[in-house]
Each structure stands twice: as C-alpha cells, then as structure tokens.
C-alpha cells in the first residue's frame, strides 16, 4: 500500500566515537531534506562514546540525541533507534553510518521501495550496479559467503547483506523494537524478516571509505563475526 499522506521518516545514526564526522553527516542529511518532499528527522544514538559525539550531534542540529550510558554494541544501539521510532510512531526508519561511508544523497533511493509500498525493507547495496567502492578482500569473502547463506535460507538474492545503509517500514520497525541481534545484526535480521514473511529489496548506492575514525572490525573479530553470524543464520532458519 503506497503512502498517501506525508510519511514520518526517522534517520537513525548510531555513533561510537564519531565526533569528527557526525556533524557533517547530519548536515548532509539536512541538505537532502531540502531537495525532497519528505521531512527527515535525525536521531543520533551515542553508544557510550569517550569523545564529544553527543555535543557535536546536538550542535549540528540533530532532531534527537539518545545518550546510552555505556557501550551496548552496534545491535543494542541500533535497536534503541528502532525502539524510539516505534514509540514515536514513525512510518519509516532509515539507518545510516556515522562515519560518512554512506552518502546521504542516496537516502531517497533507499527510501523509494518503501514509499511505493513495494517491500517492507530496503537495502542500499554496493553491488547491484557497478560503483566506485572497493572492499577489502576479507570483507569481500565474507559478503560472498553470507550472500550464499542468505540465498540458501531465504531463497532471496542479496548481494550486499552486510550493508548498514537500509530502511524499514512500520512492520519491520515493530519487529526490530522487540527483537534485534546484539552484535553483527545486518545479515541475521534478513533471515528473521524472511521467516516472518516480510519482504526486502536491494537498491544501488555509492559507498566511500570512512571519512574519519576507525572501523571496529579487526581480524579476530572478523573470524568471530563469520562464525557467530553463520550460526545465528542457521539457527534462525530452524525457528
């Protein structure tokens, strides 16, 4: 069902020590709002940062800043955003990284499938069309493995299942508010959705290298990532 009235859209930006890039991300999102019909509210979820992420976000004019008292991990922080979206009756929640690797001008592209009411969830993908993005070999292998795993379990083709640039409709917001994986949630939630009969689609977006700060992924974590996500996906498929 297409949305007739103006939908309420929340942009969730989870941030851990991103004082260097957060303000810029917020301003670029605000700039996008001026070009499209839809208002985008921005929510920064500070995941127990040790720097001035909160102040930077407030000064940049984020609609709301949630300051978690300690680090919950990406899943816990992201779910806080979805819980907020659910409590405040948003129609769509869009998640975007605080490090600047996602381009806010792609936001309308990611929102499009939801605005048409085509699917419940949309994923901004690096690989649907050829883009300038170059992932590390490790990440590439991970994405291919997860892609195959997702296909095996959900029978759906997702080329970039680890992408964190995605948007959810009301039904998915409600589901995420109730249940969301604690760590490395991106791949796992696709299976959760598929099991509940919720649909998703990929749209092509540009992605760049991080603007500032450091990625949280180290080699040991990558290994844990693969095992944990693999196990979680397989177990989800049996629920």
């Amino acid at each position: 069902m297409p949305m007739n009235s103006k939908p309420k859209v929340l942009v969730i930006i989870p941030a851990f020590n991103e004082e260097g890039s957060i303000a810029n991300v917020i301003r670029r999102i605000q700039a996008v709002t001026r070009h499209i019909e839809i208002d985008l509210d921005t929510l920064v979820v500070n995941d127990g940062s040790h720097d001035n992420t909160v102040e930077a976000a407030r000064q940049a004019g984020a609609t709301a800043v949630i300051d978690l008292p300690f680090n919950l991990g990406i899943g816990g922080a992201m779910q806080t955003g979805y819980l907020y979206a659910y409590k405040n009756h948003y129609d769509i929640a869009l998640q975007i990284d605080a490090d600047g690797q996602h381009n806010p001008t792609d936001i309308p592209t990611v929102l499009e499938p939801l605005l048409c009411g085509e699917v419940n969830f949309s994923i901004g993908s690096r690989y649907v069309e050829k883009t300038a993005y170059h992932a590390s070999p490790m990440r590439r292998v991970g994405m291919i493995v997860f892609s195959k795993l997702i296909h095996l379990v959900t029978k759906q083709q997702v080329k970039d299942p680890t992408s964190g640039f995605r948007a959810a409709d009301k039904r998915v917001i409600e589901m995420f508010a109730e249940q969301y994986p604690v760590d490395y949630p991106e791949v796992e939630v696709l299976v959760h959705m598929s099991r509940r009969g919720l649909t998703f689609r990929e749209v092509p977006v540009e992605m760049s290298a991080r603007a500032a700060g450091n990625s949280s992924i180290t080699p040991i974590k990558s290994a844990y990532y693969m095992v944990k996500v693999g196990l979680a996906v397989l177990i989800s498929a049996t629920r």
Binding site: A64, D67, L68, P69, F70, V182
Partner: protein
C-alpha cells in the same frame, strides 16, 4: 572397607567448610538462597559418598567402572558442565534485560531533556 582414607576425611572437612562458606555468603546476602541450595546439595552428596564409600564402590561396579573415584570425577564433571550451562543461560537472560533497561532509560532521558528544553519559554510567557 570401613577404614576411612585420608582423601575421604579431606572431602568431609572440605564439604563442611564449603557449606559453612556458602551459608555465610547467603547470610551476607551475597548469594541468593535459590543458588545456595544447589551448592549445599552438592556438599551433602560429597559427604555421603565419603562416609558411605561402599555405595560409590557398588555404583561403580554396577556401571562397570573399575576405579570408583573416577565415577566421582565423572559425576562432578557432569554436574559442573550442567551448572555452567545453566549459568550462561541465566547470564544471557540478564544481559538481555540490562540492554532493554539501558535502552528504555536512555530514551526516557532524551524525552525528559526535550521536555525540559521546551518548558522554560512557556513558563516565561505564563509570567507575563
């Protein structure tokens, strides 16, 4: 058979000390009664096996274990495994609750802050 080995005396002394320590922890409210029951039961089992070592011998004989103490090790190991599993389940549940509470608290604080920011201008208007 009724001659007590040093190791059995040691187990009895150890078990009694262990029970006293557990009870003391409960008294100080550092350990919940529900968890203390498990540990006290364990100590009782050790004492019984130490006093009535022929029971252990008979049991070992029945299941075909030639060296009775190894049956004791087996039971102890299985008990520890089961209890550790139980603890990690409890821990998972606790972690989920902590996350949920933290999220609710942070959202609540954000709303309070928002309300606080909107409040002052209104009260100024009321004064006029």
């Amino acid at each position: 058979m009724h001659e007590l080995n040093v190791i059995y005396i040691f187990s009895i002394v150890f078990s009694l000390t262990f029970v006293l320590f557990v009870l003391q922890m409960v008294r100080k409210r550092k350990l919940r009664e529900q968890y203390s029951i498990m540990w006290i039961l364990l100590a009782v089992v050790i004492v019984v096996v130490s006093l009535k070592s022929e029971w252990l011998d008979a049991l070992a004989d029945a299941v075909g274990i030639y060296y009775p103490p190894s049956l004791l090790f087996l039971i102890a190991l299985l008990f520890c495994l089961a209890y550790l599993l139980h603890l990690t389940i409890v821990l998972s549940k606790l972690s989920d609750r902590v996350v949920k509470l933290t999220q609710e608290l942070a959202i609540y604080q954000q709303q309070e802050r928002d309300a606080g920011e909107q409040q002052p201008p209104q009260t100024e208007e009321e004064r006029r």
